[in-house]
């Protein structure tokens, strides 16, 4: 645990996270934040595409994809149920928060990869594909629940499909995957140096900023109530368990299962908030932003990842 705290990218996150407590005025400019997101998404995609290009029998990917889709549909429903029944949230707020927890955080994915790479734990070559797959259904399910439960309008299915399949994150991840796959290891050359070899350094810079953003969100902790704080820690653990089960059932490797668990545990804070503000305007953004960005994201980066890996090991060695 202490060991994983000494990982430089985690240290960068903590450096950012402390700014709010120490009242240090520090922010990366918005333009850099946006550019780093684009860079990281494409970089994750390219790395995944290069790994994918080494898989011989592409049909081995089908079962994990189906399992991941099931996971992506299940989690928002479970989250919605918990938020409604235990948390006493209204349907709009519950649906919007649920969409966040069904979706994924690509940066958390990058951190868990970094974690496993350092421990030299191998994982399946198609994990990045699963990120894309897991991202897609959750936002759709969230919007659908919201539309059905919290508004009188009929959902605009065409616009919904566009938002879900062609949002910025999905497009960049998928585009990177295709570039990596099409170019392959021989052609990627110096482009690979910038997007793959330097990846971890720029991830560190991004995590500095994410730490700052997350710690600012903590200021709203009082506003969201104790239940949501507990949810922000408990829900990812529950999702991680579901992820481990799916990983086992679909025959993923140990490393792959730990990654799927982390993906399931992660909550979106880029695609989902933007989509929800428009699709479910009645939902209070303070709830979903504070939960996913202020609680779940730091929890996952600092404690969650080693925990999910440890849990996966435990279950694999049963």
């Amino acid at each position: 645990m202490v060991d994983s705290l000494l990982e430089p990218v985690v240290l960068f996150f903590i450096l950012g996270f402390l700014t709010n407590f120490l009242k240090v005025e520090l922010r990366l400019p918005e333009a850099i934040y946006e550019t780093l997101s684009i860079y990281l998404l494409v970089g994750i995609g390219i790395k995944g595409g290069l790994q994918l290009s080494k898989i011989h029998d592409i049909s081995t990917v089908i079962i994990p994809i189906l399992g991941t889709i099931a996971l992506g549909i299940t989690i928002p429903f479970v989250a919605y149920f918990i938020l409604r029944q235990l948390g006493r949230f209204g349907p709009a707020d519950a649906a919007a928060i649920a969409a966040h927890y069904g979706s994924v955080s690509a940066v958390t994915f990058a951190v868990v990869q970094t974690y496993l790479d350092r421990l030299k734990i191998p994982y399946d070559g198609f994990m990045t594909l699963l990120v894309v797959v897991l991202e897609i259904p959750a936002i759709a399910v969230g919007i659908l629940i919201a539309r059905l439960r919290a508004s009188k309008e009929k959902p605009n299915y065409r616009q919904l499909a566009h938002e879900v399949f062609l949002n910025k994150s999905t497009y960049l991840l998928f585009g990177g995957l295709i570039i990596g796959y099409a170019a392959g290891a021989e052609r990627i050359g110096p482009v690979g140096v910038v997007f793959v070899d330097l990846f971890k350094g720029f991830l560190a810079l991004f995590l500095l900023e994410m730490g700052i953003v997350a710690s600012r969100r903590l200021g709203d902790l009082r506003k969201v109530g104790l239940f949501l704080v507990a949810f922000g820690i408990g829900m990812p653990m529950l999702s991680a368990l579901l992820g481990i089960v799916v990983g086992l059932v679909c025959g993923l490797s140990l490393g792959g299962t730990a990654i799927l668990a982390t993906l399931a545990a992660s909550a979106s804070y880029i695609a989902a908030p933007a989509a929800m503000r428009i699709a479910v305007p009645q939902a209070n953004p303070t709830y979903y932003l504070t939960a996913s960005l202020g609680i779940t994201f730091p929890f996952n980066v600092i404690f969650g990842i080693p925990l999910y890996y440890w849990l996966t090991q435990l279950i694999f060695h049963l």
């Binding site: 922010r27 918005e30 600012r216 908030p273 933007a274 503000r277 428009i278 305007p281 953004p285």
Partner: protein, 100 residues
């Protein structure tokens, strides 16, 4: 140079709904609009533009009084409940009245 009175409608709101607002303005008869980045504070707390979701915009529309009234009526009904929003009128003089 003859100057003619028109109404300047200013809307300060969340950047998230820029697209929706522009569509509304065009539908309701505005011939043009100007948008500037803004931040601020009000009933919905501080919106200091340090993250995408708390960025404001200030939209300005020069138009005839009647159009401005139609727009503000629409805004009140559509956005005032769920979004951080302030809007107001002021009186301005323009050179080419047919343009607005």
């Amino acid at each position: 140079m003859e100057l003619v009175k028109r109404t300047l409608l200013t809307i300060i709101s969340e950047a998230a709904i820029e697209r929706l607002l522009v569509k509304d303005l065009q539908k309701l008869g505005a011939h043009g609009y100007t948008i500037m980045e803004a931040r601020g504070g009000g009933a919905h707390g501080e919106r200091m533009a340090d993250e995408e979701h708390n960025r404001n915009i200030q939209v300005e529309v020069i138009c005839e009084r009647a159009v401005a009234e139609k727009i503000i009526e629409h805004l009140t009904q559509t956005y005032y409940r769920d979004f951080a929003m302030v809007s107001y009128f002021s009186e301005v003089e323009v050179v080419r009245p047919h343009k607005f």
